[in-house]
Symmetry: C2
Subunit: 116 residues, 2 copies
Amino acid sequence: METNTGIIENNKTQMRRGVLEYSILLILAAGDEYASSIIQKLKEVNIIVAEGTTYPLLIRLKKLGLLNYRWEESTQGPPRKYYMITDLGREQLAGLDAAWDELAKGIDTIRKGSKA
Amino acid sequence: METNTGIIENNKTQMRRGVLEYSILLILAAGDEYASSIIQKLKEVNIIVAEGTTYPLLIRLKKLGLLNYRWEESTQGPPRKYYMITDLGREQLAGLDAAWDELAKGIDTIRKGSKA
DNA sequence: TTGAATACCTTGCAATACAAGGTACTGAAA
DNA sequence: TTTCAGTACCTTGTATTGCAAGGTATTCAA
């Protein structure tokens, strides 16, 4: 049982990895968010991601010019770093939309083939 | 232009990565294939994968018990190693089908949110 | 002043995709 | 018979990157 679960879990993780940047850009395209709220939103659609993954990723996307951020005070804890998508980010997002569509279409095609 | 292409290309690659094992299992669920023909079939649906990725992956899946293989002579070159999916492989594939559906659904949900 | 909740970030390990380079078999051309 | 092109297999080394674990800092309430 251990083994079975391991293989599947591992693969689910891998699948998520591929779309992480994409889904973060999608979320930020809908509105500014801070890291913890992004993680929360992803969890809500069953895309589980760790802090140790998210923070470096946001920093990377910022460095690439796809995101920017601003600090905002919070009444319930430390200040929050709100990330927002840039124009370049939106451009890239359009490309990722297309990439996702293509991938989903590809998988669909193979899937149909295996159901013959 | 270089930068833009780089970001997108990089992401497309990452997306593909996540579904590689899944798509290979799907292909083999439809019939036995050898490495080169698997690569070819993936290319046909725009999932580009290198030899250096595929061979180690097939060996890994064999070790995990999801695949087996048999040698078969070819009239146009060296013998071919035909891989076939095992019962365990089919079990795992069912799990990956579910994982893919869940991921696709998740992305779809986020996508709708960003179009508000 | 202590503790819980929230939020930020870094370090080190492990997994793995892939470019590049290598081996080996077949059949045809030189 | 040697050479070359085509096909097919595989390995090595590098770079990327997800994540568990550990760390810092702020707020508020007890």
